[in-house]
């Protein structure tokens, strides 16, 4: 009887292992997962990969601060959302429409650095690994959009990293809010902050700390006030997580700042 139990147990574990190894998303499928980022050196700029199930995915390359894709941090896991593409780059299947965010807690196991191999070539790189040619890699993103002359209320949406408040990502948006508030001589500002629930492809959900919504609202209030935006501020934060049910869940990591004349 004991041996039968062991046999069933072994069969179960084997099946579970087989199932894991067969996680292989199809082209066009949207996937969301948490995994370690992997960096592979090349003869030019490094490329960033991550492994989910039995597949290696390509996330992007090293560039500079103007790039849409900003590489993750080793020493941490990364939360990835994207659509499985057909192209292979740097040995990985390209994830289209990729959005990533670094998980805040440290994970020392996320430290894989792969050496350069001749078969993996990155020959289109907007910014070399050394000095630039005198401009940022993506000029289109340098300046905030020119504000249309307007006296209307306007809502600005700011996106955040997982469980994070204001970081290096927000100064551009904050500056745009300040400019618009000055343009319309703002009298009132409403801040609505959210936290997100991420529906992972393995069936699990991953929630931000609800307190981060409060932190986002308070930080935006302090920063805009501190920078000289004199208006009546109203702060709100969500007490239930925003979720897209696995579709663009990253949009839940946001705050909206509405500026009224």
């Amino acid at each position: 009887m004991e041996s039968l139990k062991n046999f069933v147990k072994t069969l179960f574990l084997f099946g579970a292992g087989l199932l894991c190894s067969l996680i292989h998303a199809q082209e066009g499928q949207r996937i969301q997962f948490v995994a370690c980022p992997i960096v592979r050196d090349t003869s030019t700029v490094p490329c960033w990969l991550t492994r989910y199930g039995d597949a290696l995915y390509y996330m992007g390359i090293q560039s500079d601060v103007s790039a849409d894709f900003q590489p993750p941090l080793q020493g941490h896991q990364v939360l990835v959302e994207g659509i499985v593409g057909s192209e292979m780059i740097c040995g990985g299947v390209v994830l289209e429409e990729i959005k990533i965010t670094t998980m805040p807690e440290l994970d020392g196991s996320c430290n894989t650095m792969l050496p350069a191999e001749d078969r993996y070539v990155i020959d289109v790189y907007p910014r070399p690994p050394g000095p630039s040619s005198g401009r940022l890699a993506f000029q289109v993103n340098i300046d905030p959009p020119v504000l249309e002359p307007s006296m209307d209320e306007k809502t600005f949406t700011l996106y955040f990293d997982f469980d994070k408040g204001v970081t290096f990502r927000q100064p551009r948006d904050l500056t745009a809010i300040m400019s618009y508030a000055e343009q319309i001589s703002a009298t009132r500002v409403e801040i609505q902050a959210y936290y997100a629930r991420h529906q992972l492809s393995n069936g699990q959900t991953l929630d931000e700390n609800p307190a981060v919504a409060i932190r986002r609202a308070n930080q935006l209030d302090e920063l805009l006030n501190g920078a000289g935006l004199k208006a009546d501020f109203t702060l709100n934060w969500s007490t239930t997580p925003y979720t897209g049910g696995g579709f663009e869940d990253w949009r839940g990591r946001r705050a909206e700042v509405t500026v009224f004349p």
Partner: protein
């Protein structure tokens, strides 16, 4: 003319007298100061429009763009405080407008420790120690460090307390100051004492430039930038090790009240005088023992004090349009000259050019460096020295330039080995930082951090800022050893070796020497 004829006569009489005359003439015409290198407060000497001072690698040159300055009654040079010091005490022209350990030790010997430099307030490891004992001044004498007492918790510019994201525990207190009942963290004053090198008071037009990356929000963190109390405008926060003072005026006021122990604040006129003087002063190595004249016609435009005085500030130089230290490839592949002295000079200059290229182009993996890996570039990032040291002409960061390169945080900060056989005791204090559990941890060091100096975090209260130090300018390195905020690199070789270890760069010996030669001519 008569003097010249007299000199010719002396040449006919004695070659030795003739040579002495030529040297004297050279010194006079080039503004070279060989004697009286040390400026004491109230000396009343004239600071020439151009002057050079000897250092181990050659000569440091200072350009004073408004011409000669009478220093008598000038608040930068006069002992306006109660302890006999002046600004010039710690910003010595011969030491690159900073202060070298060699000068400090010489001053101790010359005065028996009576020089105001060794004042109890911060020229000792802690004010309660016996002043006549050199051990009481060990951090100043050994590493060139001035005590900086900072109140804890910090206050913002409006004077309101900031709620810190971490607690501080004193783990090790070799100076006795951080656990002292008056001066300690839990003492009457509630201060943290850290020990830092004085920074050069020259080239400050670059250091304070608002032409790049200055806005109401700090680009690396999104937090509020400090503002100029006179204009209300944001500043670049690139001054001092922790950017705690927003402007040259507030820095001068703070330094006068602290380091000089002045009884009443500096007057607006005095502040104007000090600030104007600091902004008209440019310094760089002017002559190299091995490389010769660094200011010669047709030489690299990134070298020499005159080029410093005319360069553009607020320019990002980590690119092939502006370069950080433009060399124009003028010292690459120089024509061979059979004369031995020229051959050596040519070899050295070519080494400098290679050192520039090591600095500018040699890639390595930058890893776990807060405020560089954490600002959207990724961790690790394959880049070069020029990535962090990107400001045109100075090698500082362009704006809001604090980052943690590991000079004060463990595990990278210099610590003597601990073992039953080790006789060297730690000199620096050690603090344990515990970051709040309800906030994200420091992305590379977690929630428990050991540091000799929490750096910017003592001002911002942010866990992410622990050990983050504003990057210093590269000018006049030859004149002002030791290096890093805590004087932990005694020589340029040790400076290069630190980076080699920190980022596992694996420089070759040739690359190291080229880099050292390059740094020595800045």
């Amino acid at each position: 003319m008569k003097a010249f004829q007299k000199h010719l006569q002396s040449c006919r009489d004695s070659w030795l007298v003739c040579l002495a005359g030529i040297v004297s003439a050279l010194i006079a015409t080039q503004g070279l100061s060989q004697t009286n290198q040390w400026w004491s407060p109230g000396d009343g000497r004239m600071l020439s429009a151009y002057v050079e001072y000897i250092n181990p690698f050659g000569r440091f040159g200072i350009v004073n763009t408004t011409g000669d300055i009478e220093t008598s009654e000038h608040p930068f040079f006069e002992p306006i405080g109660t302890n006999g010091r002046a600004c010039v005490t710690c910003h010595q022209p011969a030491d690159g407008m900073s202060l070298s350990v060699a000068s400090i030790r010489q001053r101790w010997e010359d005065t028996g420790g009576a020089d105001p430099l060794f004042a109890a307030i911060d020229g000792m490891n802690c004010p309660h120690l016996p002043p006549e004992d050199p051990a009481s001044h060990s951090l100043l004498l050994d590493r060139g460090l001035i005590r900086i007492p900072l109140t804890w918790p910090p206050r913002n510019q409006a004077g309101e307390f900031i709620e810190p994201e971490f607690t501080i525990e004193v783990v090790r207190d070799p100076t006795g100051c951080n656990t002292h009942p008056v001066y300690g963290l839990e003492g009457e004053r509630g201060e943290v004492s850290v020990y830092r090198r004085p920074r050069p008071a020259a080239n400050l037009r670059y250091v304070t430039s608002a032409l790049f990356g200055v806005s109401s929000f700090v680009g690396k963190t999104g937090m509020l930038a400090s503002t100029d109390p006179e204009t209300g405008l944001p500043v670049n926060m690139n001054m001092m090790a922790d950017a705690r003072e927003p402007t040259l005026k507030t820095q001068a006021q703070s330094a006068a009240l602290g380091h000089l122990e002045i009884l009443s604040p500096l007057s607006p006129e005095q502040l104007e005088q000090i600030t104007a003087f600091e902004l008209q002063l440019y310094g760089a190595q002017a002559w190299s023992v091995s490389g010769g004249n660094l200011m010669e016609e047709g030489g690299p435009s990134g070298l020499g004090p005159r080029n410093m005085s005319t360069g553009r500030d607020g320019v990002l130089g980590n690119n092939i349009t502006n370069f950080i230290f433009p060399m124009e490839e003028r010292w690459h592949d120089l024509p061979y000259n059979e004369q031995a002295i020229d051959a050596n000079r040519i070899a050295f200059r070519e080494s400098v050019a290679r050192g520039h290229d090591v600095f500018f182009y040699r890639t390595f993996w930058l890893k776990d460096a807060m405020h560089i890996n954490s600002v959207g570039l990724g961790n690790p990032i394959k880049r070069t020295c020029a990535t962090c040291h990107g400001m045109h002409m100075t090698g500082m960061d362009t704006a809001n330039g604090w980052m943690d390169l590991g000079t004060t945080n463990l595990p990278w900060a210099l610590e003597p080995p601990v073992s039953p056989w080790a006789d060297k005791k730690p000199e620096m204090p050690l603090f344990k930082i515990t970051c709040r559990a309800d906030l994200p941890p420091h992305p590379f060091l977690g929630r428990e951090i050991y540091t000799q100096d929490p750096g910017r975090a003592l001002i911002s209260g942010k866990c992410d800022d622990v050990g983050a130090i504003v990057i210093q300018q590269f000018r006049g390195l030859s004149a002002r050893a030791p290096y890093f905020v805590n004087g932990s690199a005694a020589t340029l070789r040790e400076l290069v070796d630190f980076y080699d270890r920190r980022f596992n760069i694996r420089y070759t010996e040739k690359e190291k020497q080229d880099l050292i030669n390059f740094l020595s001519v800045l």
